[in-house]
C-alpha cells in the first residue's frame, strides 16, 4: 500500500494538519516508508484471532453514580487562550 498526494491531502484534512507544498513530497516518502515497514503484517495468518485490547483482558470498571468531582471550570479556563463568561472563545462560526 502506497499513499498518493491526494490521499495525504485528505488525511491531513482529517487530522487538521497543514502540509506546505514544499514539504509534501517528503511527507509522502516518509509515510510510504512506514507503510512499507508495516506491510509484512498482511502475510500473518490471523484468522479467528481475537484482537487484544488489554494485556490482562481487563474490562471497563464501573463506579457508583455519585458526584465525586467539584466544578473547577475557572481553574481550567485559566489555561485557555481566550474565554468569556465561562465559555471558550473561537473565531465566529455562524454569521
Amino acid at each position: 500500500m502506497k499513499v498518493t498526494r491526494d490521499v495525504v491531502r485528505k488525511i491531513a484534512e482529517l487530522a487538521q494538519l497543514q502540509i506546505r507544498e514544499s514539504e509534501i513530497e517528503r511527507v509522502i516518502e516518509k509515510m510510504n516508508q512506514v507503510l512499507e515497514l508495516v506491510e509484512e503484517m498482511q502475510a500473518v495468518d490471523t484468522n479467528g484471532i481475537e484482537p487484544m485490547a488489554h494485556p490482562l483482558d481487563a474490562t471497563q470498571t464501573l463506579r457508583a453514580d455519585k458526584i465525586t468531582e467539584t466544578n473547577q471550570r475557572d481553574q481550567f479556563q485559566e489555561l485557555a487562550p481566550e474565554t468569556q463568561d465561562g465559555l471558550y472563545l473561537v473565531p465566529r462560526v455562524v454569521e
Partner: protein, 486 residues
C-alpha cells in the same frame, strides 16, 4: 560525593544525619547549575519547590515520620503533570501549559517524601528514541556528549547518569525507559501494563504507555517502584493487584531460576561487542545457579510492524485534543475555526509527531481499519501467546536491550526506519504488556551496554531480584561518566 550514591546510600546518610535533605537538595541544585554539567537534561528546574520539599522532608524526619523516600532528590519526566509547574511533554504545543493537578505518580512520590528537583527533557510527546525530537533541543549523553542519551526518557536518563538527581521517572511506550537506561549505564524498569497509574501522564499510545523509574541500581528501582505502583481508580486500565515490598525479595537466591534466551534476539542486527557482554552477563547468572535455555518467540519479527500501526493510530486519536481552544498553543489571528485548528496544530507540533499523526489517521481512516489497526491488535495477541507459551517453561527471558550502544547525535535523524529499529528488542513487552527492565552489562568502547530481562505479568519482583543478584557480582552499575566526575 553524595551524588554518586544510590537512593539506599542516601537514605542511610540522611538517617545518620550526615547531611540534611535540604543540604542534599542544594548539592544537587548546585550541580544542575554547574556549567560543567550541561547536558540539557532538564526543561525546568524547580528550585523553590525543591527547597520547600526538602525542608518538609527534614521536618517529617524530625517528627519521626519519614516516608520511604524521605529527602531523596528526584526528577520527573516532563510528561507527568505537576501542579502549578510547566508540563510541556517536550512540545511547543504545551510550552505555556501549567498543569492544574499532579499526576498520581507525582503525588505518590511526593507523599513518600521524595524531593522534586525539576522536569526532564524528552522527545516530543515521547515519540522518539534519541531525544532529538524535543522542542527544547537535544540532550547530550554524559558518557559522550556527542552522542544521544536515548529516548524518549533521555533527559531523565542523562540526569541520573550525570548525578543531577538520585533517580528519575520515565515512561515507556516502546522502550523509552529501557533504551535510555541502557545508553546511559542505568537500571530502568517498565512494569506490567496497568501496574502504575497513567493518571496525569500525558498520553501517547494509551494501550502501550507505562511509567517506571530510572535509577542506578535494581535496589533503587525496587524502592521507586514500590512507591509508584498501585491501583488507581482514576485510571481505568490500572490493575487492582497487591504491590509487594520489592526490596524485601531482592536478597532471594536465584538458584534454579529458569532463564530463557530468545533465539530471535541474538540473530542479525546485534552489535558483536554488545552480544559478548550480554553472554558474559549470562555466565554471571549461570554461576549464581540460574538454568539457561534457548527459547523461541516466532512472532518476534512482527513486533515492529504491529507497533508502528498501533502507536501512531493511538497517537493520532490522543493528540486530537491539541486544538488551540482549551489549553496549549494557539496561532496568531486565526481567520476562522478551521484555520485556528490547523495552524495551531501545524505550527506547534514537531515533524515526527505530525508524521505519526498522519500515519495513524490514515490507518484508522474508512476502509483501512481492518487491514491495519485490527490486524495489528490480532498480531499483538499472537505475540502475547508466544510469551505465554514460553513462560510455561522458563521464569524470565533475557536478551539485549538495544542493537548497539548510544549512537551519534544526528546519525539517525531523518531516517525513521533506522530509528524505529532501535526498539526492536523492547517493543514486544509493550505489545504484550509484560514487565521488562534494562540492567548495565558492561562497556563497549567507553559506552554503556545494557541487557534486558522480561518477566511474566506482575512479576516485577522476580526481575528486580535477578538484577539485584547480578549487581552483587558486578560493578557495571557503579560506573560514573568521566565528565561528571569532578
Amino acid at each position: 560525593m553524595p551524588h554518586k550514591r544510590t537512593i539506599t546510600g542516601l537514605k542511610t546518610a540522611l538517617e545518620a544525619g550526615e547531611f540534611s535533605a535540604e543540604e542534599l537538595t542544594r548539592h544537587y541544585l548546585d550541580r544542575i547549575a554547574d556549567p560543567s554539567n550541561q547536558y540539557n537534561a532538564y526543561i525546568t528546574v524547580t528550585e523553590e519547590a525543591a527547597i520547600q520539599g526538602a525542608r518538609r522532608a527534614d521536618q517529617e524526619r524530625a517528627e519521626g515520620l519519614p516516608g520511604l523516600l524521605n529527602g531523596i532528590p528526584i526528577a520527573h519526566k516532563d510528561i507527568f503533570c505537576t501542579k502549578g509547574i510547566k508540563t510541556s511533554a517536550g512540545s511547543m504545543m504545551l510550552d505555556n501549559f501549567i498543569a492544574p493537578y499532579n499526576a498520581t505518580v507525582v503525588e505518590k512520590l511526593f507523599e513518600a517524601g521524595a524531593v522534586m528537583l525539576g522536569k526532564t527533557n524528552m522527545d516530543e510527546f515521547a515519540m522518539g528514541s534519541s531525544n532529538e525530537n524535543s522542542y527544547y533541543g537535544n540532550v547530550a549523553n554524559p558518557w559522550d556528549p556527542g552522542r544521544v542519551p536515548g529516548g524518549s526518557s533521555g533527559g531523565s536518563a542523562a540526569a541520573v547518569s550525570a548525578g543531577l538527581c538520585a533517580a528519575a521517572t520515565g515512561t515507556d511506550t516502546g522502550g523509552s525507559i529501557r533504551q535510555p537506561a541502557a545508553f546511559c549505564g542505568l537500571t530502568g524498569i517498565k512494569p506490567t501494563y496497568g501496574r502504575i497509574s497513567r493518571w496525569g501522564m500525558i498520553a501517547f499510545a494509551s494501550s502501550l504507555d507505562q511509567a517506571g523509574p530510572l535509577t542506578r541500581t535494581a535496589e533503587d528501582a525496587a524502592l521507586m517502584l514500590e512507591v509508584m505502583a498501585g491501583y488507581d481508580n482514576r485510571d481505568s486500565t490500572s490493575i487492582d493487584a497487591n504491590v509487594p515490598e520489592y526490596t524485601r525479595i531482592l536478597g532471594n537466591s536465584i538458584k534454579g531460576l529458569r532463564i530463557g534466551l530468545c533465539r530471535e534476539y541474538f540473530e542479525e542486527g546485534l552489535d558483536s561487542t554488545s552480544e559478548q557482554l550480554i553472554l558474559d552477563a549470562i555466565l554471571v547468572l549461570e554461576n549464581l545457579g540460574a538454568i539457561i535455555s534457548d527459547v523461541s518467540l516466532p512472532n518476534s519479527r512482527h513486533c515492529i510492524p504491529a507497533y508502528y500501526v498501533i502507536a501512531p493510530a493511538e497517537c493520532s486519536a490522543n493528540l486530537s485534543r491539541y486544538d488551540g481552544v482549551r489549553f496549549g498553543y494557539r496561532c496568531e489571528s486565526p481567520a476562522d475555526l478551521d484555520d485556528l485548528y490547523k495552524r495551531s496544530r501545524s505550527e506547534a507540533l514537531g515533524e515526527e509527531v505530525k508524521q505519526r499523526i498522519l500515519v495513524g489517521a490514515f490507518t484508522l481512516s474508512a476502509g483501512y481499519y481492518e487491514a491495519y489497526y485490527r490486524k495489528a491488535q490480532q498480531i499483538r495477541r499472537l505475540i502475547k501467546n508466544d510469551f505465554q507459551a514460553v513462560f510455561e517453561n522458563v521464569d524470565i527471558l533475557l536478551g539485549p536491550t538495544t542493537p548497539g550502544p548510544a549512537f551519534k547525535i544526528g546519525e539517525k535523524a531523518g531516517d525513521p526506519i533506522s530509528m524505529y529499529l532501535q526498539d526492536i528488542y523492547t517493543i514486544a513487552s509493550n505489545l504484550a504488556g509484560l514487565p521488562a527492565m534494562s540492567v548495565p552489562a558492561g562497556m563497549n568502547a567507553g559506552l554503556p551496554v545494557g541487557f534486558q530481562l522480561i518477566g511474566n505479568y506482575l512479576e516485577e519482583g522476580r526481575l528486580l531480584n535477578t538484577a539485584h543478584q547480578f549487581q552483587q557480582q558486578t560493578d557495571w552499575h557503579q560506573m560514573f561518566p568521566p565528565q561528571g566526575d569532578a
